[in-house]
Symmetry: C2
Subunit: 421 residues, 2 copies
């Protein structure tokens, strides 16, 4: 598949994180670096938070006679080509190299794919400061946004600012295990660093064709994104011209697989918000479904929810947020559909209404100590909306909060949504 490389250097990729989803994305990316050898170095570094792991007796890798007891997870991954702890049973491409040393893992990497629990972002970025190549580009696969009374911050923006790099986002209707098993799904990648147009992809692959004036030509970069918008907060170091341009078509080649269809957009905010706000909507859908009101009522709540997601984005992040990101992309409507089918927020909300029990009680019983994301997001978003005096403009988000608070009943949802009728 490789063609003659027009560039003297290739992109080196590091996956920062190695949980269930991180390892899955490493597999996807490593399959692609092998396939597109003209653009990417084959080897994919995967940073692993080191731990000791004992292969369980029911694993096919367990060898009773030669069992070495607990071993380093990186050594197990590199030896068995399987993340036996976080993605058991899925063979990994041999060009993935698990690395316990964060700084060593990111060395020379021009593309950093962040895929770790959000609470580790700050500390990890601190360790990375000054250790990455200055023209590296990031993609955050971390769902959610940090919402509080004081405002909303995208994880991709936190990463970008902490490291002084551009960071895009990947989100979609993706359950890690299903993607790892190569069951069909789609995802959305938002990638739009401020850029000149001179590196637009052209049919012949020659850079420099059909330049267009960009109003946001803040820096001279080699990212080749048309109409890109910058957060304006970071002074980016240009990607040297020895590297292949990171326009949408090339970014797509890093993630797209026959079983994992990728669509590229410029709207980082929209891609990030969908994956966070959907959890509030899923609670609302669960409440209504718990009442036995049928699929139409549930679909109505979902539809209203998508529209409130759009409004939230446009109200608080400006008009560059695209309605279509929510209504047409995997990260929006499709992710919401999945979450409202069998997701835990939906399920727990439904049980709560059906059994007439507080959702906290259901959460404790069903989630084995884990917490629902939807309830905390609903509270955080409400605290923010109250602060800015906009509770009433988001009747569904507000209704879900009021129901969680016990101030309204699920039966009142239609009336609460109907305030403007």
């Amino acid at each position: 598949m490789a063609t003659l490389a027009p560039n003297s250097k290739k992109h080196k990729v590091c996956i920062v994180g190695s949980g269930n989803w991180g390892t899955t994305i490493a597999k996807v990316v490593a399959e692609n670096t092998a396939q597109h050898a003209d653009l990417f170095e084959q080897e994919v570094q995967m940073w692993v938070f080191q731990e000791q792991y004992q292969i369980p007796k029911d694993s096919k890798h367990f060898d009773e006679k030669n069992d070495k007891g607990p071993q380093k997870l990186t050594e197990l991954i590199n030896g068995l080509h399987e993340n036996v702890k976080y993605l058991p049973g899925i063979p990994l491409p041999k060009n993935i190299v698990a690395n316990p040393d964060l700084v060593d893992a990111v060395k020379d990497a021009t593309i950093l794919v962040f895929n770790l629990p959000h609470q580790f972002i700050a500390k990890t970025c601190e360790q990375l400061q000054g250790k990455i190549v200055p023209y590296a580009r990031g993609i955050s696969c971390i769902k959610g946004v940090a919402v509080s009374e004081s405002g909303c911050e995208l994880f991709s923006d936190s990463i970008g600012q902490k490291l002084g790099i551009y960071c895009g986002a990947l989100s979609g209707a993706n359950i890690a295990t299903e993607v790892a098993q190569e069951k069909f799904s789609e995802t959305t990648v938002a990638y739009a660093p401020p850029s000149q147009d001179s590196q637009q992809p052209t049919p012949a692959g020659t850079p420099g064709a059909s330049p267009k004036g960009s109003q946001l030509d803040l820096t001279k970069l080699n990212d080749g994104v048309k109409g890109a918008k910058s957060s304006g907060k970071v002074n980016l170091t240009p990607l040297p011209s020895e590297y292949p341009s990171l326009h949408h078509a090339n970014v797509k080649k890093l993630f797209h697989r026959p079983y994992f269809h990728v669509h590229l957009v410029n709207d980082v905010v929209g891609v990030s918000l969908g994956g966070a706000l959907k959890n509030i909507v899923a609670l609302g859908a669960g409440f209504v479904d718990g009442l036995g009101w049928g699929d139409n009522a549930k679909a109505a709540v979902m539809r209203v929810g998508i529209m409130e997601e759009v409004k939230f984005g446009k109200t608080f992040f400006g008009d560059s947020v695209q309605t279509e990101t929510f209504t047409e992309q995997s990260c929006g409507v499709a992710d919401l559909i999945t979450s409202c089918s069998g997701g835990r927020n939906f399920r727990c909300a439904k049980m709560s209404v059906k059994e007439g029990k507080p959702i906290g009680e259901i959460e404790e019983r069903e989630l084995n100590g884990q917490k629902l994301q939807g309830t905390s997001t609903a509270y955080e978003v409400n605290s923010f909306l109250r602060k800015v005096g906009k509770e009433k403009e988001f009747p569904l988000f507000t209704a879900v909060y009021l129901i969680l608070e016990g101030k309204h009943k699920p039966e009142e949802i239609p009336a609460l949504l109907n305030a403007d009728a």
Copy 2:
């Protein structure tokens, strides 16, 4: 609720049809004509195809001692205020009058709500020709479009042309019985007759304010719709100024209920297409779900399906078709979600893959002699697409057809959708 009427005449409504969905809409409308007595005559005529009906022994209306045997359905409806045959158990407002005489039912009606099986449209309209008031307006609640090799025709357009009136459309994620039980749902009404703007609703309710030039000011009407588009095929008789203007806010008052939320749009084509094409998408979603590929794969097929619906509308009906009608309205995304949850097309397609049997066999076993709408729509749409040489531009619709034909397997859906990657 009634206010002093600024107009000397009120709208008289007739529901043409009295099945499950027709009777439900009659209930909704009659509740609203009673509530909005300034706009509408309270009495709602409902045309009933006359038949004899024997009240079953398990009905609460059955009186063994005084049983009269089979009776006229209209007399039962008017006596019991219940459509005992087609909507049993639901009390109807007393201002619904069941009428077996079609011509008498539509007498003086300015608003005709069509809600009957599509195969009766032609004959019913023939009987109505010359018998309706010339300035009557129609709303079609009949889902589907007539697609064949020779083209696509909207049912609302057929009605409008046969009667020489404007006809809008109502469609949404609505299961008749659930709406009748006043379970929450939403719907979309498309209503946009060609019109001058002089009757736009204003805060004070005074007509004539803020007129805007309309490029499509074909006739001088009292419908008050801004930016409306005409099919251009009918020369409409203006609605006399004695009647309240039929702008969106007033049309909404005819259908909106606390349990039935209505959104008005201008896009009749989009509203009509969503309800037809969703059945093809539901088959595709069922195929994928039958493979056990999980909710993400299903959501991906649904997302692609919405986008193909949009493309179908824009390609064959022009750019006045609005993407938002499909991606943001109940008639689009919500109706699709409902159909892909428990709809018969989805269920039968899923069983067909799971059991490895042709869908025709499942259809026979599960549907008691009824036919799946999705399969016939998939064949009709494919025959049309082949005729115009655009099969490849609609990879999901085409894939569903090819799978029904046995020429491809459901496992090939990702590859068939990926043709352009």
